[in-house]
């Protein structure tokens, strides 16, 4: 429970000469759900791109005890750091089933992949009902389920969920959050990146608040939820 899974230390990253992230420190422990919240332009996406190694950056980055600094995005993915990307990025013309298989693209062994499929269909019965349907023709919530299922097919150690709630009805968001809790109980660590601070803190153990490229506050979800500054700035209470 207390092993550090992902750690960023003295992390700087940006585009061209401009650093968006300045001296960032960030930790995710095994088995946690961590929420990373911040408004538009806070640097959440830059941080995620640093983690997936599609953006170079400077500093220390370790995942599961290994430095990721010189790894390619494919190797990062293979080592178990898997994204559920913002906007879902499904293969619209492919069926739900094919989308899920794409998640297992870098895995070998049919038996293990079939077992994962069964697990994902167990978590999302709706996906099983629609497994032959073109993924692009489904509703937003179902598409988000498909994106989550696809990521799970990669056998992740850490699931990076980017802006999951975007454009979805609150009821659906609650369902998805519940599923994330279930996933965590099965031993997968979750990093939830959200603008919707309220939704994120509902299930998270800990949270980080990001403002203009720096982490301004961190603590347990309860602490953050009750913090007067956050209540004022983000929740409008």
């Amino acid at each position: 429970m207390s092993n550090v899974l992902l750690q960023l230390n003295n992390w700087y990253a940006g585009y061209g000469d401009v650093d968006v992230l300045n001296n960032l420190h960030f930790t995710v422990k095994e088995g946690e759900i961590v929420a990373l919240v911040g408004s538009n332009g806070a640097g959440k996406t830059t941080l995620l791109r640093s983690l997936s190694r599609t953006l170079k950056g400077r500093g220390d980055i370790t995942f599961a005890g290994r430095s990721l600094y010189d790894e390619t995005p494919e190797k990062v993915f293979e080592s178990g750091l898997v994204q559920v990307p913002e906007g879902r990025l499904l293969f619209d013309q492919m069926s739900v089933h094919e989308n899920l298989l794409m998640g297992a693209y870098r895995r070998q062994g049919k038996a293990a992949i079939d077992a994962s499929l069964e697990r994902v269909y167990g978590l999302f019965p709706k996906l099983y009902e629609r497994r032959q349907q073109r993924s692009g023709s489904m509703s937003g919530g179902e598409q988000q389920m498909c994106a989550m299922g696809r990521a799970l097919m990669a056998n992740p150690k850490l699931l990076l969920v980017d802006e999951m709630s975007l454009g979805l009805a609150p009821v659906i968001v609650d369902q998805l959050l519940e599923i994330l809790s279930t996933i965590r109980n099965e031993g997968i660590t979750v990093l939830l990146v959200e603008q919707d601070i309220y939704a994120a803190l509902e299930i998270a153990d800990r949270g980080y608040v990001m403002v203009t490229g720096a982490i301004t506050q961190s603590g347990s979800a309860d602490e953050l939820r009750n913090d007067p500054h956050i209540r004022e700035a983000y929740l409008g209470l």
Binding site: S52, T54, T72, P73, E74, F77, E78, Q83, P85, L89, L90, F91, D92, Q93, M94, M102, G103, Y105, R106, R150, A154
Partner: protein, 315 residues
């Protein structure tokens, strides 16, 4: 039907192999051309149909293959086979060197960049002494249509088997993922750059071999005919007409369109290209996913197939 298809293909292949001994010289010459176009369409299918990158640079590989054979045979007195290898080496080097920067571009930008590259190559070869500058090169004459026919047929079979393998391989699945959503493919651990460059290279190898065989058959090449853009347009039309991303679509498309084009130009020569254009416009409107898709879906949906497609175009 599924079980009959391999048998049917073997019979067709047998008849095609025997064609030079049963058909007249005009038909064999037409067939050599059609086989070459089918190979080019199949090559384009790999990068355009599977990976979804509409390349206008495939005629460059055709030209490099042609010049590989011509330079080897005329300037260096090397045998034809060595010339083919030289052409392929040129093409692979070109695909690797140009593929990395050009394949970073997407959609129209990729198409325009490859379009420009083929003009650049034509200009470069017009100024090379070894390639005979503007005048081109005349190759030694070999009067054996049968040999060129069988070579072309063999190449098409290899290209089609490669695409068949591709359609069932992890590599091919990765290319389809790139076509469907490149960002998603990358986030699922597909090494998109490597895959695209490999697909471009593979397409280049087949186009180059087709160019090499064609050059020796025609016995004369110059920069304009070697790097002919209209050839690239033809391979795209044939692949798209037949069914991009399918195994047999480009071959069927090339065979049908070659035949239609040949019949039209022999019966009503002056308006032939107009008719050819009309055939293509109608085909694109009625069956945008190509003949193969139409063949599979028409029995299920009937005439609604065409109505649905017309509606999709919002005509």
């Amino acid at each position: 039907m599924k079980r009959l298809l391999p048998l049917l293909l073997i019979i067709i292949l047998g008849v095609l192999t025997a064609l030079p001994w049963i058909a007249g010289p005009t038909l064999v010459q037409f067939a050599i051309n059609a086989l070459m176009l089918a190979t080019l369409a199949q090559g384009w299918n790999i990068i355009g149909g599977f990976a979804g990158y509409a390349s206008f640079g495939n005629s460059i590989f055709f030209g490099l293959g042609s010049y590989g054979v011509a330079i080897a045979m005329v300037q260096w007195n090397l045998p034809f086979g060595v010339g083919l290898v030289i052409g392929v080496v040129f093409s692979v080097l070109f695909a690797l060197a140009m593929g990395v920067p050009v394949l970073r571009l997407r959609g129209h930008y990729f198409a325009i960049a490859t379009l420009a590259l083929s003009q650049v190559m034509s200009a470069i070869f017009s100024n090379l002494d070894i390639a005979g500058r503007n005048i081109g090169l005349v190759l030694p004459l070999l009067r054996s249509d049968t040999l060129f026919y069988e070579l072309s047929l063999g190449l098409l079979v290899i290209a089609t088997l490669t695409v068949f393998w591709l359609s069932r391989s992890r590599f091919g699945f990765g290319l389809i993922a790139i076509r469907e959503n490149e960002d998603a493919a990358q986030s699922m651990g597909v090494n998109t750059t490597r895959y695209k460059v490999l697909a471009f290279t593979l397409a280049g190898i087949f186009s180059s071999l087709a160019g090499g065989i064609h050059a020796y058959w025609i016995t004369f090449i110059d920069p304009n005919s070697a790097f002919d853009l209209s050839l690239n347009v033809k391979m795209i039309i044939m692949a798209v007409f037949g069914g991009p991303g399918s195994v047999l679509g480009p071959v069927i498309g090339a065979a049908l369109l070659s035949a239609i084009s040949e019949l039209l130009s022999s019966t009503l020569s002056s308006v032939a290209s107009l008719f050819f254009g009309v055939v293509i416009v109608i085909a694109v409107i009625l069956m945008p996913k190509g003949l193969t898709d139409c063949w599979l879906r028409f029995p299920v949906t009937g005439w609604r197939y065409f109505i649905h497609n017309i509606r999709q175009h919002r005509l």
